[in-house]
């Protein structure tokens, strides 16, 4: 079942903060975050695993609440380059088959 992302869209001024949420009705093993800029392929941001392990490249922070089956991605002191659509992908068991949410569109304005 597809995870639900909220909000669907957010507009920020450069330097402002935002939180993107990803919720599932089923128990999760991991949550994966990707960002897709218009007309481009999605790019990996972070993996959060049950138990607290995280793997990521960028200076973007995220949390994973296993009990609530929810993950949040924190965009802090946003930059123009943060603009794009953010997708969360989830799976229920160890394995790399992901079910992606509908995405959150982020626009950072100067």
């Amino acid at each position: 079942q597809q995870p639900v992302q909220s909000p669907q869209a957010v507009i920020l001024r450069e330097g402002e903060d935002a939180v993107i949420n990803c919720s599932s009705s089923k128990a999760l093993y991991s949550v994966h975050w990707y960002r897709q800029k218009h007309g481009e392929a999605p790019v990996f941001l972070m993996i959060l695993l049950k138990g607290g392990e995280q793997k990521g490249h960028e200076k973007i922070s995220a949390s994973f609440n296993e009990k609530k089956q929810q993950s949040s991605l924190y965009l802090t002191a946003s930059q123009l380059s943060y603009s794009g659509t953010y997708f969360c992908g989830t799976d229920k068991a160890a394995g790399n088959k992901l079910t992606f949410g509908g995405g959150t569109r982020v626009l950072v304005k100067p």
Partner: protein
């Protein structure tokens, strides 16, 4: 090094025709995925190949869709008797695979399919 490549980048076809989409994964990546992305929508999982294991075809929307992969290299996604609702961007991704662990997926640029 080279990333994931897909061809063609754009494909326009007539309803009822068959199409074949190609994906070249990153060398050494044993896992390969196909997704469909309709305009303004999220990523819809289609099929997953991992090494010599049987592919996970649970996301294929109908028996008009099929995919093959030769060893750990090229994959082709075939859509038979295309319908207008098949119009979308088809994305391929590859990743390393480690038992009990997770690795990032590297996406190709996609093939934009338009069925007239």
């Amino acid at each position: 090094g080279a990333g994931v490549s897909q061809s063609p980048s754009n494909k326009v076809t007539e309803k009822g025709k068959d199409v074949e989409l190609r994906c070249d994964p990153i060398s050494g990546h044993t896992a390969l995925y196909w997704y469909r992305q309709r305009l303004g929508q999220g990523l819809e999982f289609l099929i997953y190949f991992q090494g010599n294991s049987a592919p996970d075809k649970s996301g294929l929307p109908s028996d008009r869709f099929s995919a093959e992969r030769t060893g750990e290299s090229v994959s082709t996604l075939t859509i038979q008797r295309t319908q207008q609702e098949d119009s979308a961007v088809y994305l391929c991704a590859s990743s390393l695979w480690t038992s009990g662990s997770y690795n990032e997926q590297f996406f190709g640029p996609g093939t934009r399919l338009t069925v007239l």
